[in-house]
């Protein structure tokens, strides 16, 4: 049960931790250098994490009902919707960060709200699975200790990876941090889009599209590196055409924000 808990929780926590540290690093580099702007304080992030955890508990609790919606496609549809909102939230956040820098002093409320939406939904989506798993494990007393140990180990690895990513990002100059951070956010949006397509295909709401390539021989998705790359840039060993197209489209959407273009000028 230990390894199961490690893999399961690492999958979920790593993605959220990496996203959080990239957002923190980008925001950290926005504030003090631009006239009259202030950074979003840590309270915004804390609020987002707390609402995310509550959201995850709620989603886990409602899962049996949600599963049966739309002729058993409820889970996929709701998850796909959340993915789309996260992409929209990331886009809005980057857009408003830029507007904020040019106009009003102080943290931009819109950018803050978009940030909260992105983090909350990411944690809700990922966390619900952890809640369901832990809840199921509680019924098997012998499995509780190994599972909790596994959760601790996975949590430690996930959070440490997030901290190290954050410190490496803010270690660069402002422009480089913004460049790398925004590219990572764009890749993350691409990942979300590809997952949306996958979910809709799984629920048969989207037609099958042919598989583009198979890199399982090169790097399996379930290896540690594979998991890390999946969490960071949405690595997929066997992507379909629709997944690849949507991935690129979401990336281009993020790359179209003035902030992104400015960081590469």
């Amino acid at each position: 049960m230990f390894l199961v808990a490690v893999i399961l929780i690492l999958q979920e926590i790593l993605e959220a931790a990496l996203l959080l540290s990239v957002l923190l690093a980008v925001n950290q580099q926005m504030g003090p250098h631009l006239a009259g702007t202030r950074k979003l304080t840590l309270h915004w992030y804390a609020a987002a994490i707390v609402t995310g955890i509550f959201g995850a508990a709620l989603f886990a609790w409602a899962m049996p009902t949600v599963s049966e919606w739309f002729d058993y496609a409820g889970q996929e549809v709701i998850n796909a919707l959340m993915h789309l909102v996260v992409i929209g939230g990331l886009y809005t956040h980057c857009l408003l960060l830029q507007t904020n820098a040019r106009q009003t002093p102080g943290p931009h409320i819109g950018a803050g709200v978009a940030l909260i939406v992105v983090i909350t939904l990411s944690i809700t989506r990922e966390g619900a699975e952890i809640f369901l798993y832990i809840n199921g494990i509680m019924g098997t007393p012998t499995a509780v200790t190994p599972a909790l140990l596994g959760a601790g180990l996975a949590g430690g690895i996930g959070i440490s990876a997030g901290i190290l990513l954050y410190y490496s990002l803010v270690g660069f100059s402002r422009v480089v941090t913004l460049r790398i951070g925004l590219v990572l956010l764009a890749l993350f949006a691409g990942n979300m889009a590809a997952q949306t397509i996958l979910l809709l295909t799984q629920a048969d709401w989207m037609p099958y599209t042919p598989q583009l390539w198979d890199t399982t021989g090169l790097l399996t998705e379930y290896s540690v590196t594979g998991q890390l790359l999946y969490a960071l840039i949405g690595y997929e060993a066997t992507p379909s055409l629709a997944q690849a197209v949507s991935y690129v489209a979401a990336m281009l959407l993020l790359a179209s924000t003035p902030l992104f273009r400015q960081s590469w000028r």
Binding site: M1, F2, L3, P146, L153, G156, I159, L164
Partner: protein
């Protein structure tokens, strides 16, 4: 980076956690693999044992323990089996290891063909039980790594705190250093990394002190040098008054200009006459109230001319101070009060001991008061309020002198609203002094 301590603690802890946890995970995986091999070997041995059993005498009550099962087949007839074994082949008739589901569990199976007896021997072990068994052993080795992290975190925190102590001490020393204190820093312990910082700061303090001294001397010398030509100018002006129309506008303005220049030079002299080095020599025991009485009497005509009331409250207050400097201080406050208070206004001087038994001198008026925006700047040299009327003459040095003298006496100057509803109150609070 917001905090060095936070960065060192979180960075070190994150690196340590990441690598030790991944190592633990690797250890777990390889140990579990070892355990699997071990269990498989046992299963192999079990098949050997079963092959040598006299299966004819084994009935369905034969118990191996709940975690093990076996079957012995000869062609299609089941010669013997343990109680959980199914009625059909529990694994395909292929020599080797495999997995199978029966009796509500998943089993690791091993099948072997005994050529001597022409029999298939099949043995199985419950995967869940053997997995739990192995995991409990392996987890014992992972646990200390997990539990060690909080302890390590605490230790790193202590080490980082200890390492940062000289830096924190140095910044506290710098922060507590009063603005006029130009003595060099002397930290108790200076690690090698901080020596350049301390040296640089001390060098800067030294240069700053020298520059200030030069500036002072220059101003004082300049003021002193200007006195003679101004005096000469005044005599020339007096002589000129006999020759030209002394009531003409141009002449009046010329006279006022020379007057103002003289005043400025006097003020500059007053500002630099009282230097800290000479202060101790000039210090005597004096009664501030009596001193105030003298100054008030001397300045009374100025107030009378504007029909302003000037009152002095208070009682005998003894303190050590430079009488000439204190006179200048009060004179400047009075001149200020008169200037900024309209005709028929009210000015009050009080010299008292306050609730803390400290000597307090307050000069308050019922003029327009001081705008909040100005309150922070009025003691700066040559600062003149933009809010007040520019018609009021002055050079902007008066309050600087007040502050300078107060600082020499280690007194605190503050400005606030007066008790008269409108106007300003300047408050000079002297420190407690040992009665001698």
């Amino acid at each position: 980076m917001r905090s060095i301590r936070q960065f060192l603690l979180l960075g070190a802890l994150a690196v340590l956690t990441l690598f030790s946890f991944i190592a633990a995970l690797r250890g777990y995986q390889s140990s579990m693999q070892e355990a699997e091999t071990l269990f498989d070997t046992q299963l192999l041995d079990l098949s050997q044992l079963v092959a040598n059993l006299d299966v004819g005498r084994v009935n369905n009550d034969f118990r191996l323990g709940n975690n093990l099962a076996f079957q012995v087949w000869e062609q299609q007839s089941l010669l013997g089996a343990s109680h959980q074994a199914p009625a059909i082949d529990m694994t395909p008739r292929v020599q080797g290891f495999d997995f199978a589901n029966f009796d509500g569990y998943r089993w690791r199976t091993y099948a072997r063909f005994d050529e001597d007896q022409n029999r298939w021997i099949m043995v199985a072990e419950r995967t869940d039980l053997r997995f739990v068994l192995a995991e409990n052993v392996v987890l014992e080795t992972v646990l200390p790594i997990l539990l060690g992290i909080p302890v390590t975190g605490l230790l790193i925190w202590l080490i980082v705190s200890k390492g940062l102590k000289p830096l924190i001490q140095l910044s506290a020393d710098l922060q507590q250093k009063p603005a006029h204190d130009l003595t060099p820093l002397q930290p108790r312990e200076t690690p090698r990394e901080l020596v350049p910082v301390v040296n640089a700061v001390n060098g800067m303090i030294q240069r700053l002190g020298a520059a200030l001294e030069r500036e002072k001397r220059l101003s004082a010398d300049a003021a002193h040098e200007l006195r003679t030509p101004i005096a000469a100018l005044k005599i020339q002006l007096h002589n000129l008054a006999q020759e030209v129309d002394a009531h003409s506008d141009s002449f009046q303005q010329l006279e006022q200009g020379v007057e103002r220049m003289g005043h400025l030079v006097e003020q500059l002299m007053a500002l630099y006459r009282t230097s800290p080095e000479r202060f101790d020599e000039a210090c005597v025991e004096l009664d501030l109230h009596a001193l105030a009485q003298e100054v008030v009497a001397r300045w009374y005509p100025l107030f009378d001319a504007k029909q302003q009331t000037l009152e002095l409250l208070g009682d005998r207050c003894l303190l050590r101070g430079d009488p000439f400097a204190l006179e200048t201080l009060l004179a400047n406050l009075l001149s200020n009060a008169s200037k900024y208070t309209p005709e028929q206004g009210r000015v009050q001087v009080s010299v008292l001991r306050n609730a803390d038994a400290r000597v307090e001198m307050v000069v308050q008026d019922n003029g327009p008061g001081i705008a909040a925006a100005d309150a922070n700047h009025i003691f700066e040299r040559f600062y003149r309020s933009e809010h007040g009327s520019h018609s009021v003459p002055g050079c902007g040095l008066g309050l600087t002198i007040v502050q300078h003298v107060a600082e020499l006496h280690h007194a605190e100057v503050s400005v606030g609203p007066s008790d008269f509803g409108s106007g300003a109150a300047f408050r000079v609070v002297f420190p407690l002094q040992d009665p001698r």
